[in-house]
């Protein structure tokens, strides 16, 4: 699980072009949206694509994203339970 969390931090920084942010700057419980990393709605769509591309998870209900993408911890839990690759 810890390896997956680290992997997610690196992927998020790369996919979302988070300049001047390192994996060490992101705590597992930090909010990814709002006051946390300050991600926006387009970033949310990119994360949905990332789930599909890298973990074989297709989100059919966009409303699910709010809970899944709350933090690195919630993302890692969801991916672990639902990944197909």
């Amino acid at each position: 699980m810890e390896a997956l969390k680290q992997e997610l931090k690196v992927k998020i920084i790369e996919v979302l072009n988070l300049e001047d942010v390192s994996a060490a700057d992101i705590n597992d419980n930090d909010a990814l949206f709002g006051d946390g990393l300050g991600l926006d709605s387009i970033d949310a769509l990119e994360l949905i694509v990332m789930l599909d591309k890298d973990y074989g998870i297709k989100l059919t209900d966009p409303k699910e994203g709010k809970n899944i993408f709350a933090s690195i911890n919630t993302m890692a839990d969801y991916i672990t339970a639902n990944r197909t690759k």
Binding site: N17, L18, E19, G38, I42, D43, L45, E46, V49, K53
Partner: protein, 201 residues
């Protein structure tokens, strides 16, 4: 009767160098535009993380606007009138390449949103809190006549207090930006001839 308007400031960005009012203010060695634009961003002391999410056309326009728009322009009625030759083709091509393989089909929303040239106008408006008139034209080459007429019309009809105009061309690492501010007060008369002179500096 049409009033005279004036060019109050100009900037040019090309070949890894930025000029304001004809004077070089930044020059660097860079392997590509991504490296140049990052160095220019750092040189200007900008703190705006969204810059790194923009496509190259928007980065080019953003840097030019940073050079000319001052705090007094924020939330002002400064219109934006931009143009170029290649539209958003640089990003269009990248997006098309990303969806060409049906076996690896993952369209990127973050790339897709930049497949329109006037997105760069929106980025500038957000940055400087402008809720003003804006247009983006596609021409074969810098059209001083139309740009001049359009900016004058906006000011003379009181649609805008000032106009930030720009030629923002970017395709395949070949880039050139020429931006200028037009307002009712200044020293350099705003007409076709003065624009062509400034553009060809």
């Amino acid at each position: 009767m049409q009033n005279d308007n004036y060019i109050t400031a100009t900037c040019r960005i090309h070949n890894n160098e930025m000029f304001v009012d004809g004077q070089s203010i930044f020059k660097t060695q860079a392997a590509d535009f991504a490296e140049f634009s990052k160095k220019a961003y750092q040189h200007l002391g900008i703190s705006y993380p969204k810059f790194f999410k923009m496509d190259n056309l928007s980065k080019l326009a953003f840097l030019g606007a940073e050079l000319l728009l001052k705090p007094e322009h924020h939330q002002s009625n400064t219109a934006l009138v931009f143009a170029n030759k290649s539209s958003s083709l640089d990003t269009d091509v990248k997006y098309q390449q990303s969806i060409a393989d049906k076996g690896n089909y993952f369209p990127s929303p973050a790339v897709f949103v930049y497949t329109l040239p006037n997105i760069c106008v929106g980025e500038i408006s957000i940055r400087h809190q402008l809720k003003s008139e804006n247009s983006f034209f596609i021409f074969d080459a810098f059209n001083a006549n139309l740009m001049c007429s359009y900016a004058n019309l906006l000011i003379d009809t009181q649609k805008a207090h000032a106009v930030l105009c720009g030629w923002i061309e970017y395709f395949n690492e070949d880039y050139r930006a020429f931006l200028y501010l037009v307002s009712p007060n200044g020293n350099t008369i705003h007409n076709k001839q003065s624009l062509e002179t400034a553009y060809n500096q």
